[in-house]
């Protein structure tokens, strides 16, 4: 079969099994758009801003586990995509981003809409390619998907000069079944001896904790994690990125850890003697001050990326490998082992943990006449029966969604953790809804964040992606305001917008339903109404208590045992330990 470059791109994507491509046209990709026009298999989703394209593709990828695919033009189209690429990079999300480029002969001449996309994206992609030969196009696309989805996933950019996609140059086409790259061989199975050592250490623990993260979601290892955790009977905490990979309503789950983690999770980390980190990368939001991090613990770390291991925290037993096979190996060793977990020590440890739990660190004022944001999330959880896909933006609302929506399944919680990109939530929700048209999809956002990609409301109408936008409107950049309250003597410098749009009218202007509430008793019925409207996008503007803060909180420079709690409770470091 002979195809031109543009047809090769489209056919390669189809042969790769791509369902949706999120994009925005422009000069350098006109040949590509013409090829897209002339077929029906590959569905193109026209966003309203290229940042929206990357976030929508990213949301699709996070919800499905399949790579998200993006098409943007050169120059401004490409640079607009960069924030979304960096967002995917920091959370290890597989994306393939195709950017148009000026024609090969004029590259480097400051041609119209020329920007060095390969150069700009180099620090925020797993890899990138500039295609200089149309005969290499199909192979490059195959390589891009392979790199993006294997090992530690990540975004890959393919920069394609316009002349490479020219309609008149046809070359033989065949899409490679597989590719190998001699310089790229991700490790899969863990080292046997290390695994054995890890199991021995785990079984000898007196105050163990399992700390698992986004790697479990990325590695589709939720089932193995649950089996492993139950077999040991140890407490487990999840990072923000790992939420849902272990059921939040399970007894062994002690909540999220880190800056806004639960008291019990952070205390258990601090007092533990053995930690097994599974697909988590010891982010600074999790560790707090490194010198104070888990002073008594020996650490086992499973990660597919050797560079994640001992990067910020030195570990005793590193295991480089894919979580799923590694946990399977560990499980069979645990079952075979003649050593059993220390039942007495474990009972003591659980006793201590349940004592910490009595503090009830996520409790909030349920009698307030104002709408408490936490209450909204609890109600959202109930109304959607805990089964919605929840995307979020960045700020306090994100933390409340993470704390109060009890995720019981992986890939349901979709947020920008590593980069913390405001504007992520709405386009991501659109991507999720395309993947799962029948599912409930909620975008929990704030009045500042939503304005960063509000234009995608128009995309939502065009493609009938009927998501529900839960705008926790505190009339503040709440997260910024909270830091200013705690660390800058309440000098609220520019964390407040003097003017806000009328979101109800805005939603209506975009062709959607807008609802506004300001009383607690309206929350439940309004959510019910919104989710009952299956064929409408609903924007619920919820006036919340504007002074509410996210608790618990570990402030900068503090350790896990030193949390700011809603009610002042003494830390228990001086308490007698089991």
């Amino acid at each position: 079969m002979e195809l031109n470059g543009a047809q090769i791109v489209v056919q390669s994507l189809i042969d790769e099994g791509v369902e949706y491509i999120f994009g925005y046209p422009g000069g350098a990709v006109l040949h590509l758009y013409d090829a897209i026009f002339q077929q029906e298999e590959l569905k193109h989703i026209l966003v309203r801003h290229e940042q929206g394209a990357t976030h929508a593709a990213d949301g699709y990828a996070r919800a499905t586990g399949k790579p998200g695919v993006v098409l943007v033009t050169s120059g401004p189209g490409a640079t607009n995509a960069v924030t979304g690429i960096a967002t995917a990079y920091l959370d290890s999300i597989p994306l393939v981003v195709i950017s148009g480029q000026v024609s090969l002969p004029v590259i480097g001449s400051d041609a119209f809409q020329e920007v060095d996309m390969v150069g700009i994206t180099r620090p925020c992609v797993k890899h990138n390619f500039l295609v200089k030969d149309v005969t290499k196009l199909a192979e490059t696309i195959k390589k891009a998907f392979y790199v993006a989805t294997s090992g530690r996933p990540g975004p890959v950019v393919i920069d394609i000069p316009k002349d490479i996609t020219a309609p008149n140059i046809k070359v033989p086409y065949s899409y490679p079944e597989s590719v190998s790259i001699r310089s790229y061989n991700p490790v899969v199975s863990g080292h046997k001896d290390q695994i054995k050592k890890a199991v021995d250490l785990l079984l000898s623990a007196k105050r163990p904790i399992i700390y698992s993260g986004g790697g479990v979601v990325l590695g589709e290892a939720s089932e193995q994690l649950i089996e492993f955790t139950r077999a040991l009977g140890y407490p487990i905490t999840n990072t923000l990125m790992g939420l849902g990979s272990y059921p939040a309503t399970d007894n062994q789950y002690v909540g999220m850890l880190g800056m806004h983690g639960t008291y019990e999770a952070n205390m258990a980390m601090h007092e533990s003697d053995v930690i097994i980190a599974i697909g988590a990368r010891f982010d600074d939001r999790v560790t707090g001050k490194l010198d104070l991090f888990c002073p008594h613990a020996k650490i086992i770390h499973i990660d597919i990326d050797p560079a994640s291991i001992s990067k910020t925290v030195r570990v005793a037993i590193p295991i480089v490998g894919d979580i799923k096979p590694v946990l399977e190996q560990m499980l069979s060793l645990i079952k075979e082992s003649c050593i059993k977990t220390d039942a007495d020590a474990l009972a003591q440890w659980w006793k201590q943990i349940s004592e910490w739990q009595t503090i009830n660190c996520l409790d909030f004022d349920r009698t307030s006449p104002l709408i408490k944001p936490q209450y909204v999330i609890e109600q959202l959880h109930e109304v959607t029966k805990g089964d919605a896909y929840v995307t979020s933006d960045v700020g306090q609302h994100q933390m409340w969604a993470a704390q109060y929506y009890k995720f019981n399944k992986p890939r349901r919680w979709i947020n920008s953790g590593g980069l913390g990109t405001m504007g992520f939530g709405l386009p991501a929700a659109i991507g999720v809804k395309l993947a799962f048209p029948e599912a409930d999809v909620a975008c929990v956002t704030g009045e500042a964040s939503i304005q960063m990609c509000i234009q995608e409301l128009s995309t939502a109408l065009q493609y009938k992606t009927h998501v529900k936008i839960i705008n926790l409107n505190n009339r503040y950049m709440g997260m910024v305001r909270q830091w200013q309250e705690f660390s800058y003597e309440s000098r609220y410098s520019h964390s407040y917008m003097d003017t806000l749009p009328e979101f109800v009218k805005l939603a209506e202007a975009y062709g959607h339903v807008g609802l506004r509430i300001d009383k607690p008793e309206e929350v439940r019925p309004t959510l019910e109404t919104a989710f009952a409207m299956k064929d409408r996008t609903v924007f619920i503007d919820i006036m919340t208590d504007r002074t509410e803060n996210v608790y618990p909180m570990i402030e900068a420079g503090k350790g896990h045992h030193d949390m700011k709690l809603r009610v002042a409770i003494g830390t228990s470091t001086d308490r007698e330990l089991a």
Binding site: G119, P123, S183, P306, A307
Partner: protein, 163 residues
């Protein structure tokens, strides 16, 4: 501690900037960097000299290995190796000084590779410290220009960095 990292990588445009970019983005220092194609034209070899404690060097090698274009690398400091650097130095010569400079070059096993009525160019290879010593031994006023390649190295014995 000083480390010489020898890297075998795909001979692709952009490969060099990936390595250089990694160092600047992550705040690692590069003392020197040399790169040239190998006997296999699809591969090039890069030698870079960096400094850092064991943890930093461990991260550097892991991050380098993570680059898709990097095929293999070794930290030469971990084993017996030979290290060489090339120096070309152009010195101003007065008739009275010529003999002295020549004998100094001889002592250091340098070669005079260009002569004009007022200048010499001396070529010298060796471990970097030897080149440092030579430069220190000649009158700084006389040096018009000194060009150094940056060190490159190879491990001793059967061990080698190849596909």
């Amino acid at each position: 501690m000083r480390h010489i990292i020898s890297i075998l990588m795909e001979n692709e445009s952009g490969a060099l900037s990936r390595v250089a970019g990694l160092f600047s983005a992550r705040g690692y220092n590069i003392e020197s960097l040399t790169v040239a194609p190998t006997e296999d034209p699809s591969l090039s070899r890069m030698t870079l000299v960096t400094r850092g404690n064991d943890e930093i060097i461990e991260q550097i090698t892991k991050q380098l290995n993570k680059l898709i274009d990097v095929v293999k690398l070794i930290d030469l400091a971990e084993s017996f190796h030979i290290e060489r650097e090339l120096l070309m130095v152009k010195v101003r010569t007065s008739p009275e000084m010529r003999d002295e400079i020549r004998s100094m070059a001889d002592i250091f096993r340098g070669k005079i590779i260009d002569v004009t009525p007022t200048t010499y160019i001396i070529e010298m290879t060796g471990p970097s410290e030897k080149l440092d010593a030579f430069i220190a031994a000649i009158d700084p006023e006389s040096i018009i220009e000194a060009v150094r390649s940056g060190p490159t190295g190879i491990s001793r014995g059967e061990l080698g960095l190849h596909l």
